[in-house]
Symmetry: D2
Subunit: 357 residues, 4 copies
Amino acid sequence: MIPPLATAEEPIGVAVIGAGYWGPNLVRNFQGSTSFRLRWLCDLDLHRARSVLGAYSTVEATDSLDAVLSDDRVQAVALATPAGTHLPVTLAALRAGKHVLVEKPLAATHEEGRQLVDEADRRGLTLMCDHTYCYTPAVLRIRELLHSGELGELHYLDSVRINLGLVQRDIDVIWDLAPHDLSILDFVLPEGVTPVAVAAQGADGIGAGRSCIAYLTLRLNTGAIAHVHVNWLSPVKIRTTIIGGSKRTLVWDDLNPSQRLAIFDRGVDVASPHELDVEERRDMLVSYRSGDMVAPALTEREALRTMVEEFGRAIRTGTPALTDGRSGLRVLSILEAASRSLAKGGEMIKLNGGPNG
Amino acid sequence: MIPPLATAEEPIGVAVIGAGYWGPNLVRNFQGSTSFRLRWLCDLDLHRARSVLGAYSTVEATDSLDAVLSDDRVQAVALATPAGTHLPVTLAALRAGKHVLVEKPLAATHEEGRQLVDEADRRGLTLMCDHTYCYTPAVLRIRELLHSGELGELHYLDSVRINLGLVQRDIDVIWDLAPHDLSILDFVLPEGVTPVAVAAQGADGIGAGRSCIAYLTLRLNTGAIAHVHVNWLSPVKIRTTIIGGSKRTLVWDDLNPSQRLAIFDRGVDVASPHELDVEERRDMLVSYRSGDMVAPALTEREALRTMVEEFGRAIRTGTPALTDGRSGLRVLSILEAASRSLAKGGEMIKLNGGPNG
Amino acid sequence: MIPPLATAEEPIGVAVIGAGYWGPNLVRNFQGSTSFRLRWLCDLDLHRARSVLGAYSTVEATDSLDAVLSDDRVQAVALATPAGTHLPVTLAALRAGKHVLVEKPLAATHEEGRQLVDEADRRGLTLMCDHTYCYTPAVLRIRELLHSGELGELHYLDSVRINLGLVQRDIDVIWDLAPHDLSILDFVLPEGVTPVAVAAQGADGIGAGRSCIAYLTLRLNTGAIAHVHVNWLSPVKIRTTIIGGSKRTLVWDDLNPSQRLAIFDRGVDVASPHELDVEERRDMLVSYRSGDMVAPALTEREALRTMVEEFGRAIRTGTPALTDGRSGLRVLSILEAASRSLAKGGEMIKLNGGPNG
Amino acid sequence: MIPPLATAEEPIGVAVIGAGYWGPNLVRNFQGSTSFRLRWLCDLDLHRARSVLGAYSTVEATDSLDAVLSDDRVQAVALATPAGTHLPVTLAALRAGKHVLVEKPLAATHEEGRQLVDEADRRGLTLMCDHTYCYTPAVLRIRELLHSGELGELHYLDSVRINLGLVQRDIDVIWDLAPHDLSILDFVLPEGVTPVAVAAQGADGIGAGRSCIAYLTLRLNTGAIAHVHVNWLSPVKIRTTIIGGSKRTLVWDDLNPSQRLAIFDRGVDVASPHELDVEERRDMLVSYRSGDMVAPALTEREALRTMVEEFGRAIRTGTPALTDGRSGLRVLSILEAASRSLAKGGEMIKLNGGPNG
């Protein structure tokens, strides 16, 4: 868990850019954190910014990015604007010496994301991606379980994220929803386990002009498989991820607050060939475990609160955030390959990313 | 619904071949039907056949297929043996003038299945595939809803069939489980809507030497997509199919007996371009429906009972069964293409089947 | 639905008293309503009041009730303090000419509640009970369904409200949780249908010195029965109400956001005796309906928001709120009778309330 | 677990009396047990008996009880007839030297049940009650958990058993359904913990002339409470029992095959008074545990199969069955007291039973 900073230091002055869907959540969480002092809410639509702040707030609304960036009390900005604006706004903020938190995806393209990472590096500033799900108690626990080896080696990950969702104007369902799944995957994979290729299938269905349903298949360097189903057209909401390990299998049902995680001591074991003599190898040695299920108690804590604290920690310590710019790059790398696969009818596309995406 | 035959005719003499996993279910259902008179249970392992019949049965057990096929009281046989045996046993039965019901898949290969269909045609005998799921009250209703247009045009079908299942020695998870989904798809699609290509991704995971997890993507001639997830390694059992139509969307949860079908008047509509003037075309016209859900009352009736009655009906009337040999061929055609796709890393493979698979 | 007031009138000045568990929700909702202007948050613990408002609010915090009541800009106060304080604070507010919204229960005793209702009547001021659940979309719909006769005559209502809850220091589980169920019952019952007696059973279990588990049985003047299970000790959270009517039966599962209401055309019908001749009367004529289930689409709207608008409407129009002081009295009347029954080992206690409780 | 008898002994000759709702299940399970040899199925309606056996059985059908009781090959009979017939048929069977298994309830009255127990005792014969639920893997595990102290002391048990059920002609819903809950309660309670009083509330609702909905409250000698909700009129089927212990709480959801039992390390603890000094006693010391949940793996085994084996074990060893006649008496004692309470408007009725009911 990432606790609030116990510090005598001054709170970090912060501004939120973007008063649309996500901005209000950032406003609420920065206001609730003692690590930050929220100075501005900025939106091109000043009326919207004011309306988000409401009639009772002392936070200033503005439609001028310059006003924000030239304010010395502001050390950090948080971006909740469309991906197409991330490049110019983030560059401007970094050049003004501000630390930046960017809503997912990091940028509209991998190339643009790379510029942002380089710029932040050059200036020694924090660049963090708001991969909110990574900061849920459930995903933090999944990360622990995979890193500690408690689940054993990863065999497969299957993620379903479907709902009756807003058909976006500018991006397809992969770019809209899969960043959640891909950033979670990036976050929970143990050191050395990494996706190496991706294939994507999609369908429009309603004549929207872009995929409204899509399936991604990722190959990992270990032979494991990851599969993601994203869908804007489902009348039922499902957010379930199954993570099969060699020791245990985990089911994360994000819509079941009373039992978000279930860890099953249940599975199939095959004796490895070198344990068997010639006679035995003819028959595969398969055995089935059918043990208990444990649903661990999780603390209830808003993910965005934890994310905000991590942003503060990264700024103060000068160390990379858990979901730093590079994690955003790795996600972009997969998204771009998925789009290429989609265009080629589902061909498997190699990811040529090293550890930095 | 397929009612028992109201007839003064003699019951049809029938023999069940195979006393393994599925045979006992056939034995029970033929015994429960007034359309049939069960004469034999035949298995190479005579002890197993006897044990299935139990200590109180007047049905004869045998390990001799010849004894069964040369018995004039037997007009029909039902096969519940491994797919590899379907060709010789079915051919022998047809040549002995018996009608044949074959467990899925129809045969080990499309070529073998074709031989069976041709032989049955030549002899004017009934050849039926035991696609049991097609005879569940839920699937019969889904068929009605799609054929009558109540769901509108099919946009997508997503089927998940996962469980901790027996790792088969001779076939992968696609050949083991996907015949259920593919036969259901074949059964419910309206006239003229048909799959034209398939891609498959699979993973072994546990070192079993064959895919234990797999994903199939089917393209339909209408542009619709169908996706199937089959998995032997899941600690939780899920059997859920979502069928998105242009008017309504249906969710079939086969593990929820109190609400197997749910029909949602919920979805996304996009005005078609020719309805819009130039101005409007710039903006896509998307509207959302968020209406009621109806869970229709379904009669509870064992699918196998209905299937057995359909076998009787087909024999007596000389008309094809709802799941006749040709439907079995169409399923085989997709399975073979899926295997080819799997071998080629997920390449989309065209199906060159006409209406007869 | 109760819409925000479309009015050119000035917003109503309001103060919230009590910054504990519930107060912050009132603060948030009054701030979000254009019908009100929040002036004060008052709590004996000034620090707590300030902390609830946070560092960014222009609302004033105070620990002085006098300051609030003597403020002419304040026309209404909302009380979220323990029941024991309702009498003096509400009386003081009414005497200062303020309209009052009181958290449930209306007062610590029926006698005290009666004083409040009389005082408000005398002064022509609005006295409203914050029976929040009554303003959920689900309960508003249930009310419609019962008032319109769509469910037919009420046969039974069964409500379960259990969870691992805070063991209260001063009140037992009946006074803590049952006001929700009783106020909902009061709200949805059609004209002329009313509880006439109540019996209560309780158990302590953990040595808390008061009932932590309790069961209430209410008899209605129509012969119908209502039963309430409240429980602080359940490890699972259940909030399910079944309402059996002569035409349809409704299930309200408040923890299932995707299907809160389910209306079943399913039930048992018995032909009434006068429809039968002598012969028939010997055999009861029972028939079973097993029709569809409909889950109506409900708008998602925070109940407290609707409640706040109803408070505004009642103040502006001078007409009683849907959950006025008298509804609070009726609930108190049942709670007191339940306590008496509990003390007498579950004896059925008559309710001697007229329409005003 | 109760295994089949590993014995070289002859199977016990058995006859089933009654070919109605339950009889066929007994027929099937006696046929499946190597401990028994089923000789007869007897029903006043010979046609029904024959129809249950079907066209393929070697078991004899009869409408003559005498034929069964005078058959020396029959050592035991199993009764699945209405409760009103239990006295004469069971007495006749015992007097003919047969061991008897009786469907619940043991008899129509406690007095009649007492005669049966005495007669069996006198003759040294096995008299067993078919309390089938007690032999489910779930209830056997619950018994272990309570007997071993793993749940701690029992605080409360809450059982809900509701469905759209057949309105019985001769008995109300308490006598129809509550025997299940009461026999389970009797089965799982540890030595020395016993119900001492019961109160019942019921309602007819549909004009059936008897209670179709009922609530039982039982007081135990330890201060614990047990509550049972039985209902024929519910459109949804619920079979959930919560068992609150001082250490852990268990939820048994019999309709969730993938997670029938859930054991929660969650609850409320109150420091006992003698641990506290005077100062502390003013404040109650309450603490909350919020630990993990464990869903133990249960073997899947038909309860009736286990029950049949226990009948065989009791006959062979001459020791009482786990659900012997005395357990049936204890259940009858509560049912009769519940009926008296119902007639008196819910008055708490003392149970004057010793350990033998």
